[in-house]
């Protein structure tokens, strides 16, 4: 099967269950938004997929191959981490040269060209780079690898707006020409909302939903009006959250939009991905 399959994965840290029997798949050829609040279990799952930590139960398969301690997945998967795992005393250009030795699919020329676009000084040691440029270095490393699955864990941390735009632009251009799956784990939901095709939302170690972005945006909407009217409208519907402002009430719903009653003062408006995320994870927290 062409996918990253997460099968019944559980991970515990002492009394805390970071992942609780999580099962889903990242299909091949899509851009995923892997969303969740702090401590939701995103990084834990990414680290298990990348063989950095081990699941207590369950397994991860990459194109049907077990990801645990398996060099067969080496050329298939790369994970750009939020954490700095690179040797700090090596120069950027030496990092690129080592990556060329480590991976058959690393494009050295592309790495240097992309570094030029980001104005990254390749003669600097990794430790001498600012936090933003350290992130840029890690992004360039990931962008220069032609693997089937690339995971970006908080990819734009510390990047200014120009560099963020450049990254998304390069990412999309690559995606048009390559066949690969891109998984972006981030808090900056609105920023990736236009890029991602499918959303996986995780909270408290469990998958809350996996849905295409279009479907979510089509089925997610907000109803506002007087509290009584809103409550009447929402009866029997999938309400994921409320906001109240005086006598005005806003309800956030998922599902098919029902016709507003004749002469109703209710207003219907689309719900953006960030609001959907906030309300769903609030609900999970209740």
């Amino acid at each position: 099967m062409n996918a990253i399959q997460i099968k019944n994965v559980t991970k515990r840290y002492h009394d805390v269950t970071a992942l609780d029997h999580v099962s889903f798949s990242f299909a091949f050829g899509k851009i995923y938004g892997f969303l969740g609040r702090n401590g939701a279990g995103k990084s834990t799952l990414i680290n298990i997929i990348a063989n950095r930590i081990f699941a207590d139960e369950g397994e991860v398969l990459v194109d049907g191959i077990p990801a645990r301690e398996n060099m067969l997945v080496h050329e298939k998967l790369f994970c750009m981490s939020e954490a700095d795992l690179y040797e700090k005393n090596l120069k950027v250009k030496d990092h690129f040269k080592w990556m060329q030795r480590f991976y058959d699919c690393f494009d050295l020329d592309k790495a240097f060209q992309t570094a030029e676009k980001f104005e990254l000084d390749v003669n600097q040691k990794f430790k001498a780079l600012s936090k933003g440029y350290q992130s840029i270095f890690k992004l360039i490393a990931a962008l220069s690898l032609n693997v089937r699955y690339v995971i970006f864990d908080e990819p734009v941390l510390g990047l200014d707006a120009n560099h963020r735009e450049l990254f998304y632009d390069l990412l999309l251009r690559d995606f048009e020409t390559r066949e690969q799956t891109i998984i972006i784990a981030t808090h900056l939901i609105e920023e990736v909302a236009n890029i991602i095709e499918e959303v996986v939302l995780i909270d408290k170690g469990k998958v809350l939903l996996q849905e295409s972005t279009d479907t979510l945006l089509e089925t997610g909407y907000c109803i506002s009006g007087l509290a009584q009217d809103v409550d009447d409208y929402c009866r029997g519907k999938n309400v994921i959250g409320y906001d109240e402002l005086g006598s005005l009430k806003l309800a956030y719903l998922l599902g098919e939009k029902a016709q507003l009653p004749q002469g109703s003062h209710l207003q219907i408006s689309p719900m953006n991905l960030q609001k959907l995320f906030v309300k769903l994870t609030e609900k999970g927290g209740n």
């Binding site: 680290n47 990348a50 063989n51 950095r52 930590i53 081990f54 301690e69 398996n70 060099m71 997945v73 080496h74 998967l77 790369f78 994970c79 981490s81 795992l85 690179y86 040797e87 700090k88 090596l90 080592w98 990556m99 030795r101 480590f102 991976y103 058959d104």
Partner: protein
């Protein structure tokens, strides 16, 4: 195999220069101390130190153990499995131990030839009869030290700081207990037999002859045990 070769090259090539930094600093310090003593006493007699390999032992241990965290993180980031990381690390130990044993064997023999009152560690124990055995012995000692410290750092990484401190205290207690056992509990004949076994294991026979093969086998066995222990831990090690 290509990937493994790349990981081994990474380990060895990024550590190679530190060997020469170490020797440059070590011999600069020896020279400086010698000059200070010579200027102070007005004579070059009775200056210099013996057993410079002790410094190398400390250095290979530090290089082997302290390099663990950075190299593990770097290689795991680049998709290598723990088995590959372990093989690359062992290759690094073979590489640095081999080079440093060679340098120390040559320097030990040259210094002893120039100044007969200088004794290398091996020379002081076994004499200066066989350069090849001298190198092999030093090489295996360095390897055993590397594996010992590698195992220690892996254990510390796995069990955490507090448990490591407790383990250290317990091990210290065990050492004291063993000394007490030898001194007060075990019969004199048993203690003598154990001491003789230890001497034999290092090649010193009861009749005064020296078997060089015994310390080689002992160190191989020790290195093997420590290496297997290290592998058993690293294959379960998680990124922290």
């Amino acid at each position: 195999m290509k990937k493994l070769k790349a990981a081994i090259q990474y380990e060895c090539m990024t550590s190679f220069k530190y060997i020469w930094y170490f020797y440059a600093i070590q011999y600069a310090i020896v020279l400086l101390i010698s000059l200070i003593v010579a200027i102070g006493t007005g004579s070059f007699d009775n200056i210099g130190s013996n057993c410079l390999e002790i410094n190398s032992l400390i250095f290979v241990g530090i290089l082997g153990a302290l390099g663990y965290r950075e190299d593990f993180r770097m290689l795991i980031q680049n998709g290598f499995t723990r088995k590959y990381i372990f093989i690359a690390t062992v290759s690094l130990y073979l590489f640095i131990s081999g080079i440093m044993a060679l340098v120390d064997t040559i320097m030990g023999n040259v210094l002893h030839a120039v100044r007969p009152d200088y004794f290398s560690l091996y020379g002081a124990l076994y004499g200066y009869h066989n350069v090849l055995i001298n190198w092999l012995w030093l090489f295996l000692v360095y390897m055993a030290v590397c594996f010992l410290l590698y195992l220690m750092i892996l254990v510390i990484n796995r069990i955490g700081k507090t448990a490591s401190v407790c383990l250290g205290v317990a091990l210290g207690g065990c050492v004291l207990l063993v000394f007490a056992l030898f001194r007060f509990v075990l019969p004199g004949r048993t203690v003598a037999a154990i001491a003789e076994f230890a001497r034999n294991a290092m090649g010193f026979m009861g009749d005064g002859t020296v078997y060089h093969a015994f310390p080689v086998l002992t160190l191989l066995l020790l290195g093997g045990i420590l290496g297997i222990g290290s592998f058993a831990i690293i294959r379960r090690t998680e990124l922290k």
